[in-house]
């Protein structure tokens, strides 16, 4: 992300900056000529800036409030949750201890379920990358006849809401004999992640010169060698972006996990977390502590790979 921003930030002149967005060199000139700036312009400028800061503050509160709420409840004692304060009166890490040591009956298999989530996430990531890159290679590079049919199939899958396919998918997984099996979720989510992979890969693949393939072929490489030794290494940034995307998609998915996995053995954390809502007397502090632990990996991954993620997202949209 910062890569993209950095580019325009360094070259960007006076657009949208409320009149104060000139570069450093110009700032000096402006400062020396400030005395000559009419007063009402200066008032207007500072007024705009104050307004912008106020707006930014509101925006920050809006963004953070539900997340702050999550932490606050997780740090409360059980009775503290119902005390009606807006910060924890006597903050305690007790809820986190309960979750980590699996000391509550909803959480009896927490680490096992955490492992399930990881297993699903990594499998979906791997399958999406493999299937997506193979398909985009054969459509984009080898240009097979009727390749457009494959692209259209992927495009259609991409724009069909997954929740609308949930009921038939559930039945079909039973027919395949995969219900309550982690592989059912892996396959379903791979199906929904691959179209995006094909899309991004075919976009990104256009930037790799065809001449590389041609010279490799003259040197006697077969298509698989070209795919494995030329295509994949050059696609690395796109692979990282799509891999992160697939991992997050699988980790964050709820509906399919909920429908396809129902035993405590096969559940992922998302399903286990939603189980708290089944009872009226749910221990909200335990639930929020679980939620925070569950939300950590994607947040870390997202902020760690922010650069690549944004690159992947904007790959489709932005040129030049």
């Amino acid at each position: 992300m910062s890569a993209t921003y950095g580019r325009t930030a360094s070259t960007g002149p006076t657009f949208g900056g409320g009149g104060t967005s000139a570069g450093a060199a110009q700032a000096g000139i402006r400062r020396s000529s400030r005395l000559h700036t009419p007063l009402h312009y200066r008032i207007q400028r500072y007024g705009m800036e104050t307004l912008a800061i106020a707006f930014g503050l509101v925006l920050a509160i809006w963004s953070v409030l539900p997340i702050y709420n999550m932490w606050m409840i997780a740090l409360e004692t059980h009775d503290g949750v119902f005390a009606g304060s807006i910060w924890p009166e006597e903050p305690t890490l007790e809820s986190f201890r309960v979750v980590v040591t699996q000391d509550f009956w909803y959480l009896a298999r927490f680490w096992h379920q955490f492992g399930n989530s990881f297993y699903v996430g990594l499998s979906v990531m791997f399958l999406t990358l493999a299937i997506g890159s193979l398909a985009s290679f054969t459509v984009g590079r080898m240009r097979i006849r009727h390749g457009w049919m494959l692209s259209n199939a992927a495009l259609m899958t991409y724009v069909i809401p997954a929740s609308f396919l949930a009921i038939p998918m559930y039945r079909i997984m039973q027919i395949y004999g995969l219900s309550n099996h982690l592989s059912s979720v892996v396959l379903a989510l791979t199906t929904f992640a691959t179209p995006y992979a094909i899309f991004i890969f075919s976009q990104y693949g256009k930037s790799i010169p065809m001449e590389l393939d041609e010279s490799a072929r003259i040197d006697g490489a077969n298509p698989f060698q070209i795919y494995f030794r030329i295509y994949l290494p050059l696609m690395a940034p796109a692979l990282v972006a799509v891999g992160t995307y697939a991992l997050l998609l699988a980790w964050n998915e709820y509906l399919y996990n909920f429908l396809l996995l129902s035993t405590p053995e096969s559940m992922t954390v998302a399903v286990a977390l939603a189980q708290f809502l089944n009872s009226d007397e749910s221990p909200w502090n335990f639930m929020m502590a679980t939620a925070i632990i569950y939300a950590m990996p994607p947040i870390i991954l997202y902020y760690g790979f922010r650069r690549y993620m944004a690159a992947g997202l904007t790959m489709g949209g932005v040129k030049g």
Partner: protein, 305 residues
């Protein structure tokens, strides 16, 4: 399916035609056909087994006419249709409008604006499930933080938000906007950044300021991207399950259900899977044209940016 929404496909597309000379040198011969076919097989299998088959199966499940009579007699269905129209109509347009304005705001080149952007991304990086659960509790009438804040700041006794149809629906829309606003802002921000500065400079030379620069440079160049985003987000919002399911839970008394959640409710709470499928299928008259337009847009439209 919240993160699917991260997937964006704005301009350019799958089947953009490449000039003939870019074909593999001499075309594909003999054994290469086998390779090419083998590479395509995994995706074809996935598509047939997990997309085409479920679609056909669903069409078959929902093919009995009396299911639709049953839906017609169910007042909850009409509530859900109305809710879906409001949810999608308000949710998408409000979000995209805000995202467009915010993308302009984030063009400001200030250090604090960049820091704010990092914070602003947080809702999107948080998984939907914990976030919506937190919002559900935040809006609790008795112990929720929002009412606590209102009480402390103004001495107001806030309402029980999730006990009313309209406020519940508004809460769902608000949660959906909260979760996805950062994503679309980033997309539109990237779109704005890709507008060549020379155009603004040329406009400035011609004497254009503020609003005219917007009307004659920003707007024409962003219109296509904005339209594709709106259409894409309409499809995503139509299929959104999590916000309604976890924020209002469809309540009170199933009055805030949307099509995506009511179908699941029919299938698994009432154990009428066929009715659930039929209910989802009533969205097809809207969904099919949308999907068709989007497929054309994503395939044909090439970076006008």
């Amino acid at each position: 399916m919240s993160v699917t929404q991260q997937a964006v496909a704005i301009d350019g597309g799958f089947a953009r035609s490449r000039p003939a000379r870019h074909k593999w040198f001499g075309g594909i011969h003999g054994a290469d056909y086998v390779w090419a076919a083998a590479f395509a097989v995994p995706y074809v299998v996935i598509f047939l087994a997990f997309v085409l088959y479920p679609i056909c199966y669903g069409l078959w499940l929902g093919s009995e006419p009396q299911l639709y009579a049953q839906l017609w007699d169910d007042p909850r269905y009409f509530t859900a249709v109305l809710n879906t129209v409001i949810y999608v109509g308000v949710g998408v347009n409000l979000k995209m409008g805000l995202a467009f304005l915010l993308s302009g705001f984030f063009m400001r080149k200030r250090v604090w604006v960049k820091t704010l952007l990092v914070v602003f991304i947080l809702p999107w990086a948080t998984p939907a499930l914990p976030a919506y659960m937190s919002i559900h509790w935040l809006l609790n009438g008795q112990w929720g933080m929002l009412n606590n804040i209102l009480w402390l700041l103004f001495g107001w006794d806030g309402p029980v938000y999730l006990n009313s149809h309209w406020m519940g629906l508004a809460a769902n829309i608000g949660a959906y906007v909260w979760k996805n606003l950062p994503f679309w802002t980033i997309i539109l921000l990237a779109g704005r950044m890709s507008i060549p500065q020379e155009l603004y400079e040329a406009a400035a030379v011609d004497g254009a300021t503020g609003i005219r620069k917007f009307a004659h440079v920003t707007y024409p160049l962003m219109a296509n991207l904005y339209l594709v985003c709106i259409l894409l987000d309409t499809v995503f919002a139509l299929g959104d399950f999590n916000a309604t399911y976890f924020v209002s839970g469809g309540g009170p008394a199933m009055s805030t259900e949307v099509l995506a959640t009511l179908g699941i409710r029919y299938a698994y709470t009432v154990a009428l899977p066929r009715l659930g499928v039929a209910e989802v299928m009533t969205a097809l008259p809207v969904l099919v044209p949308l999907v068709y337009i989007l497929m054309r847009k994503l395939r044909v439209s090439e970076g006008q940016l």
